[in-house]
Structure formats: C-alpha cells, structure tokens
Symmetry: D2
Subunit: 338 residues, 4 copies
C-alpha cells in the first residue's frame, strides 16, 4: 500500500512509496485512514528537529489522523468495525502524570506516523470521535485538541467564570478558545491584525488585543481583568511572549508552556514568578483520558474545530508542510485521503 | 430599628420587634438589607431543628440576603460605600477544606440572621454581587448558589462534557442546573410532573425523567449515558433517592449529599458504593472563595437565578416560611425589604 | 503444568489439575510463580460470591502473587528476564480515576488467577518488587497493599502529622498502619484483645482502642485527637463499624470504604455526614501507578509486610482458604510454590 | 515599650527606640515576644529591596517570632492567655490559592514586624506551636518552615517513597530536608564542603552532592534516581542552579521556585521544561492552614528545627542581620528577647 516516508533527514528525501500491509496483534485494530492533519512539529521532524527523539530512518511522518476501523484483533473489546476513531498521538500514556518514558511513543516520530493508507493501532490507544464532526474536522483532534485540553483543564483547572488568555490563531490557540468558551470562561485573545481579530471574535473571544500595536499587551490584559489577571495563559510564543504572559497571569495562576515559535531560550525574571506564586507548566500533548474527555466536551457542546481554508490531497504532503511552516493559515491544515 | 426575632422555639414566638443599631468594628461594614431569601433550613430553625447548633434565644432568623454598604469601619479595604454585597452564609470559612469549627458560624442560627433593617458584617465575609442581577435575584446567592457550586465544582470537579444529574426544582437543584450548563455539561433532571419538566428544559436541562412514573429513574439515567453513568449527582432527597442516585452515578463518580427532604436515615448498600468506587461527599454550603468564583461565573455567563413567582414583603415572614415548608414553589422564595 | 481450578461453584469442586502452557504475545512476559497470597475475597469467589462479576467456569483462583520473569515477548521493554514482579490485581487500570470497565479485569475472578506454575501477563500490568522483601512478603503486595495505598493516599491524601484510624489486624489494616507511619502520620488502631494490641503497637500504632471493651470507640478516637477527629478512617467492617467511623472522622475528613466484614447493608444517618462535610469513598484496590508508588515507599523506607505465622504449600490451598475464612490470623496468609 | 525601627532605608537608620503600646481589637491577642528569627529577606528590607512592596517609614523590621499570649480581646475564641503562638508571616492568607492582595500583608514589610516587646495580632493569624520546641526553635517556624511546607506539600504533593532534592543548608532547605524525611521521602542534598555534607547526612539526607566538585550535579542527581529524576526540587539558588534543577527533576515533576541567591534573571531553555512536562511553581511562604499542618507534623514526629550555633540578643539586631547577609551559618539565625 502507499505510504510517505522520510528516507533521509531533508525534504527532498520525503517521498511517496510503498510499505507492507500491517499485521494485527490480538488487541490491535486496523484503520483505513480518512484524513490527516499537520502540527508545528511535523515540518521539524523532516529535518530531525528533535534529535534522537525524532526516531530512525525510514520514518512515516505526521501524527494526527482519523480513520475507520476495518478489522479487529481477536481480543478487541473497546471498538468495533465501522467505528470512526483517531489514534492517540501518544501511544503509551493512558492517564495520570507524565513520565519521561512516554516521550518515545509519539506518532510521526519516534513511532511511524499516519501518512499511509492503513495502519494497525492497539485498541487501547484509539478514541472514538463525535458523530457531528466531518472527517476533516476529526483529523485535527489528537494533537492540537488534546494539547489545548491539557493546558486548560489538566494543568489550568479552568472553571466557568475564569479568564483565559490565548495567543494568535494557530491550532492549539483556536482549540483553547473553543474549549474555554465551552467551560463558560472569559477569553482574551491576542492577534496581529484586524481581520484575524474579527474571526477570533466570531469564534467567541470576549476581547482581542493587537500585539503589534500594543507590545505591552500583558499589562493590557491584566487591566482588562480589573487587576486580578488571567487565570490561565496558553503560552505558545516562547522567547517573545513569556514576559508578557507572566505580566498577564493572575496570582496563583497558570502559564501553560506549549510553544517556542519565537525561540527556545527565554530570559526569565524570577521575581515575576515569585511575586504572583505563578505556576509554569510544560505541556506535552496529553493522555488518552484527556482525549476522551475532550471528545465528550465537543459532542455535548456541538463544538467544531477550525479547519484552514486550504485542504490538501494525499499527494500534496510537501505543499501542506510548506503552508504549515510559513504560518499564514487560520486553523488546522488538513490532508484528505480520498 | 425593626427586626424579626425568634423568642421561643415555635412559630408563635417568631415576632417583629426592635433591635439595637449595630456597632461597627474597624473591619466591619454596615449593610442596609434590600432583600432576603429562604432556604429549607429556615423553617426548621424556628423550631430548633438543629439542636444545640441552632443557637440561643432570642435569635434573628434567615441566612440569605443582599444589602448595600452604607458605612465602613476605619480599616476596611475590600469594599466601599455603595457596593452591593451579600454576607456569606458561613462567617468563618474563607477557603480550603471544611473544619467543624465553621458549623457555629452560620447566619440565621447559630449567629443572628438577616431579618433586620441593617446589620454589621466583617468585610472579609461579604461578597460583591454581579451588576446584572436584581436585588431579588442577588438575595438568593449565598446559601443555595454556593451549595450548588460546592457540590458540582469543589466536590465534583465538573468539566465540560460531563453528565450531571439534578433532582427536582428546589433552590439548590436549579442553581446546579444553571451552573452545570455554564460549564458545558449535559444535565439530566428529575421531576414529578410535565409542567415542571417543561420549565426545567427551558432552563437548559438536556433530559428530564418523571420520577413518579419511573421509580427506577437511576437506572434510566444510567442508560441515558450509554452505560457510563452521571459524573456528579446532586443528591437532595435523602432516604428515598440515595439508592437511585448510586444507581445513576458513574464509576469513580461523585454523589454530593446535600439534603434529607425524605428523611435522615437511609439504608446504604455498601457493594453499590464499592463496585463503582463512588465518592459520597457531605456538603455544608461552602466557603467565600466558592461564593466569589460563583459570582464571577454568573457575571461572565450572564446567568440569572430562578425566583419563585410569589415574592413576599418584610412583614410577611410567616407566610414566606409557610410557603417554603409546603414545597409547592419553583425557584427561590424571596422577601423584599422596601 | 499444574494449576488449581474451580470447576463448579463450591469448595469440593476446587481441585488441583493441569492447564496448558501459556502462549506469549509480543508484549507479554512469562512468570514462574514463586508465592501467592490470599485476600478476603478469595474464599467468596469459590462460591461465586460476586455473581456475574466472579467469572466463568473453570476459573483459576487467587489474585495475588509474585513471580520471576523467565521469558519475554519480542516487544517487551519495561522488564527483563530475571526480574521479580507481581502481576497487578487489576489488569486494565493503569492510572487516573476508576471506570466500571475495570471491574471485569481482576485476577482470580473474572480473569484466571495465579494458582498455576506459570502465567503470561502483559508487561504493562506487572510491577517490580523491592529487593529487600522475601518472596513471601512480596506476594502480599498487589491487593492488600494497593488497597491500603488507595485508601490513604489516593482517596485520603494523607500528610505527615495527620491522624489515621485503622480497624483490626487484617491485611489491609496492617498495610495501612505501615504506610501511614511511613508518611509520618499518627495512627489509632482498634482491636479486640490485648495480645493483638501489643503487636499493633510494635508495628507503630500510637494508640490502640479495644472495641469490645469500648463500643463507642469512635467517640474515644475523636477525643484522642483533641476534638478534631481522624483525617482518614480505613473502614473495613461495614455494617457494625461505619457509625463509629463517622463519629471518629474529622470535619472534611475521609472514610475509605473497603470492607463489609460485618454485613452489606448499613443504616446511614445523613446528618452525621453533612455535619462534618465528610467524604465516603469506595475503594476497589487500585491502579498500577499506586502499586509502583507503594513499592517505592516500601523500598525507600525498608518496610516489611506482615506475614501470618502459618505459611502454606501449593498443595494446601483448601487449608489456606479455610484459615482466611475463619479470621483468626494476623497479617497476610501466604502460599509458597516450591 | 522598646522597638527597633527602620527610619530611613539604610542600616545606619535602623535604630532601637520606643513605640506605643498596642491597642487590642475584639478579635486581637496581645503577644509578649519571646524570640525572633531572621530570613533572607530581612536584610534586604532595610534597604527597601522590595520597592513599593517593602512598606513605609518608619517600619518595625523582621517577620518571624514566637510569643506568649498575655491578653485577649473580648471576642477571641481560638487561643487563650498562656498559649505560645507564632504570628503568621502573611496576615491575610488563611487557605486556598494565592491572590495578589496577600502580598501586602507580610510582617516586617509592608506591615510592621516583630522586633518589639509586645504586639497585637488578629487571633485568626496566629498558630499554636508544638510543646516540645524551645522558644528559639519555635521562632523559626513561620517563614522558612511554612515556605518549605508549601514547596513540598502544597506545590509538590510529596508522598512517601518520592525523591526530593534540596540545595545547600539555608533555613528553607533544612526545613525541607526534615519535612521530606518525615514524609518518608528519599532526600538528595547539595552542598559545598565535606563538613556541611556530614551535618546534612546527620539530619537524614540519603545522599549529598558537592556542587563545587560536581558542577553538573543535576545530572548526577538524575542518575542517582535510576533515571527517573527527583519528584520535587526545592530551588533556592536562582540564576546559577535552575538549569541543574531542571536536569534533575522527574517527568511531570515540580521545581518549587523560592530563592534567587545567585541572581534574579535566568536563562530558561524551554525544551528542558516541555520535554519533561515539568511544573515550575513560585512560592510565597504560605497560608495559615499550611502552618497548622506543619506544626502538627512537627508535633507528631517530634521534629526539631535547626538553629544556628550563634544566638543573638534583642540588642544585637545589626550583628544578626550581618550574619544573615554573610551566609556563613547553618540553620536559622535566632534572636532571644530576654
């Protein structure tokens, strides 16, 4: 069957080829992939951006997908043929605190990913998706959706009435906006232009700050809360934004550290953390229990993930990765398989 | 100034009289009471239903009210003249776990309550109310609202997508319905007739079960969740309902024990608790931090408490207590003071 | 190879026979069983005491054992040949909250148990045991040890300085005593005679109450804490003890419901729960993460489980079960396999 | 009565003078101070090291003390004349999450501190001290003891069997060592010479690393845990140590940020946080509930705080502050008042 493979650590060596049909273990299910979705990490993987954690050649790329169960191992009980499921991005983390062993079990590096027609997955690491979602929407859940849930719910413990700050309009940030509104939170979003601001408001943002016009936007957010601060900040920017995030966060509040869009090394002013008894929590996607909880949240509240206007075909992986890398999208970049 | 007093432990000895003007300590605020609200416990207090915990004669009854700050002690910093605030039902519990010492510090027994024109309260035990609420609505927050919040949020840890089961249409149950919907939960409500069922649906209930027609409603609720159960059950009925509540609750779920409408002594089948690893949590209203969080939730989500159709005047305390006792109301019974 | 089997639901039909050699899946490990241990449930299983949850005939009984890894499947990474491990009593619960699906995955009913020479177990559901323990000691960890850990740590959240109340000298109670002392807690134990009282004190109990001489022992425990109560009560008695446990527990404290030695149905006085905002939490053993944490606790603090003076051989299963049922032991009943 | 005052923001203007006798409010208690203790912050306060948070002139310095209750206001119920109590360092934080309002209510800046013969304190913000402690020992509890408790218990959630890493032999670090051992944890300590290493081992440290000989001590600590890492790191060093602390910490583990001995600004490598899903939590001493819990822990486990060999008299405040600033002490610096 057809599969994309990274044969050497560069884009030229990312090629469409063939891979063998998967063999099912007794607790495995066979998925026919229907759509995949890209994340910030996917173009980095092609160039071995996570060092030894990236995995070994050849590697089937991309971590997010939705598929249909077309066959089940003899001992499978949790799903059935015909179910529409996503494989968990992390294939060993069921629930509870993170352990470093889980780092090695991510789809699309170190483990082979989803860019193939069919794949076998342990039934314990797939999650059924809400019926009201299209395949394109459902494909975006595993990585960005679970990350946002971990940041807000697991790390942040959000409650209705809390204030949440989200940054920009990448996949995680838009998911965080949707989830925070479903929880009855007030959402302050940052963005770089008026058109995006409008779309953020249409998705439910209660206030939008243009960070290009207002470099001290953390202070502005603080003032918007009447001087109590944002209970949770979903921090995706890294070097350029952390200082403002700590300015915006409430006493005893949480900064969920997810991204490093603007660089890996930040200058951290310790008293800005002490003074507020702030909590900074590193997020590595999340466990299956979070995925299941998020899927319930989407089903009960009829939420729909935001899919970027440009959808790609199975053959257009290079084009899709390029768009991901360039950053000029709104919502999740999706690849349809048929 | 005018005040209602219980002079002996019976309804005949509940009379309208005079009490001295309060003296402000340095951290006290003086409230002009604008409206009060009744709870299940208030008629019981008149007949010393809580034994030594009820307090001593004479006692000013009723725990819930909203007032305007008309004077502040010299050291007050948290509120200002003109603020509209509720006194906390519990006047010693700020935050954190419950301790038995708090039992002694409840308004309207053991401490003097709110049925007087003006009262002094420590600024640390008042909470500002959302602007969009009328006085009648705001008066209902302290006891029923905080109890519902404790049951769902503090004890139950509800998340968007969870299923919550509420019983009937008393004050706590309607608050629980509103709060659960604000959190993005699915709500199953029980009731005794079609007219009330309609009102519950209008308030957001996703499903309503008539418990008179369906005595095994706990099983019905279980089935409605596809066999996973209700994550939190807000249990107000006591003897008659606990068995069904344990039938409805999810594995690892929470039954918040609040009321004993149908009796104090229940037969508990231990395996029904073991089997599910269920948690049964006694609720005693809640702390100031919960009140503040609930007030934020109501403000951000523009929620409105449900006030019973019949509103009483300051002079009609006996009539109001009778209505509370008879149970044929929908929402909170309120007394306006002007 | 040799195996004990329940061929019909009575003790006569519990016989020593043969079972086929296990076949290893890619993530399975093969264990040579070195010792097994009995629990309260094991004699009940023989007579199908858990109804449909007990499983189907024929059934290999007993849930607790320690074994040596003598072979590993091709994909195994967590353990190696030569490791000494216990299978988890629950073979699906890794971490996080309980779900009802886990009920079906307990060793020794519904799943086949440990009374056979060798067994295959998924590597994800075995836990390495501390080096300083003998095989006899290690065999007692999975059920009683994990239950005590769940009761105190997961449900009770004990901290150094807390007061813990344990009842009698069964397996769970003695484990709870050891663990509570390792956490720096104060332990009050109940017992029925002076000889057992001495042994409990030798194990670290700070105070022992003779419940035959003092039927209102809950009040006595309350007074011993200076009127603040026990932070956690490990409740194993059921019908006869729950009332006293609720008397002993602190405001906001936890009663971990584990056992029903004296009956399934209890009369519960609801105000005794409300008044204290007590939490009653059903315990169903626990997850692998608790087992691993408990094993670390035993290793770091060099704790030793208490093994009953009479140890049985593989052939003496009937005798061992009889001793378990009669209740006149102190510590865990163990069966050695060689 | 005699009192030390900061009259201008320099050491020359820290002088011994007179202050008026305190006036008791109805819920205040009058303390005769018996001993005080210094913290890292105290010398900084003299030079207005916390800017506007330091408070206004004149200021009575020093935050930690123990005193005897010699008079009580009319409404006091929690303590009695003759009780030996410490004022809480934070005079508004009873329990629950931190809020920025609490920053303003610390003894010895912004509020007047303890260097006076008698002081009035709200009964809600004093804590009784364990009987087995001397006055010198008890005086050290409020700031260093509560900070260590917050770092380990509130932020870190330590359990018996966990590994805790503490740095050096300052007040918070030694408290953390004692508390972690009381909880049954394994403790790895860092230090700069063999003599201190010996004293740390005598206090219970399971392993000591000389950070001058081993600059990559974080890696060493990691290896000592068999590659799982320290569950909680009590980080007091700031700029020089954070990188090593993140190397030592476990996946999902906690770095409690307390001190900045070596500078305010650190370079933070974000992937070192993401990779481990680490939590970095700013600690600002703690609430009364933590103080009470810690006091219980000390009483039950008969722990004794470590007092530096040199004890000062009331008149020697300058000398005591100098010793604090120079850093060549072991344990807490104490001032006796008689």
């Amino acid at each position: 069957m057809k599969a994309w493979e990274i044969r050497d650590w560069n884009f030229e060596s990312l090629v469409l080829g063939e891979c063998p049909e998967p063999v099912l273990g007794p607790r495995d299910v066979l998925l026919r992939i229907k759509a995949a979705s890209l994340n910030y990490r996917d173009p980095l993987v092609v160039e071995r951006g996570y060092g030894r954690y990236t995995g070994e050649l050849p590697l089937i790329p991309i971590g997010d997908a939705v598929g249909e169960v077309i066959e089940t191992g003899a001992a499978v009980t949790r799903v059935a043929v015909g179910d529409r499921v996503c494989p968990c991005f992390n294939q060993s983390w069921l629930d509870g605190p993170y352990a470093t062993e889980h780092w090695w079990n991510q789809l699309g590096g170190r483990l082979d990913g989803v860019m193939r027609e069919r794949m076998a997955v342990d039934e314990r690491f797939v999650v059924k998706v809400p019926d009201h979602l299209t395949d394109l929407e459902a494909a975006t859940l595993p990585c960005a959706g679970v990350t946002a849930w971990s940041a807000l719910v697991e790390a942040g413990g959000i409650q209705a009435g809390d204030t949440v700050l989200v940054q920009g309009s990448g996949g995680v940030s838009l998911y965080a906006l949707l989830i925070a509104k479903a929880f009855g939170c007030r959402v302050i979003a940052t963005t770089s232009n008026a058109a995006k601001a409008k779309r953020l408001e249409a998705l439910g943002a209660d206030a939008v700050i243009d960070y290009t016009a207002d470099p001290d936007w953390g202070r502005t957010a603080w003032d918007m809360t009447g001087g109590t601060g944002a209970d949770v900040v979903v921090e995706v920017g890294g070097a350029d934004t952390l200082k403002q995030s700590l300015r915006a966060v409430a006493g005893g509040g949480t900064v969920s550290l997810i991204g490093n869009l603007s660089g890996n090394v930040v200058e951290l002013n310790l008293p800005s953390v002490f003074l507020k008894a702030a909590r900074m929590v590193g997020i590595v996607v999340g466990h299956r229990a979070s995925f299941e909880a998020m899927a319930r949240c989407f089903a009960v509240n009829r939420l729909r993930p935001v899919v970027d206007e440009r959808v790609f075909t199975f053959g257009e992986l290079h084009e899709a990765l390029r768009r991901q890398r360039e950053g000029s999208f709104f919502g999740k970049i999706v690849i349809r398989f048929d």
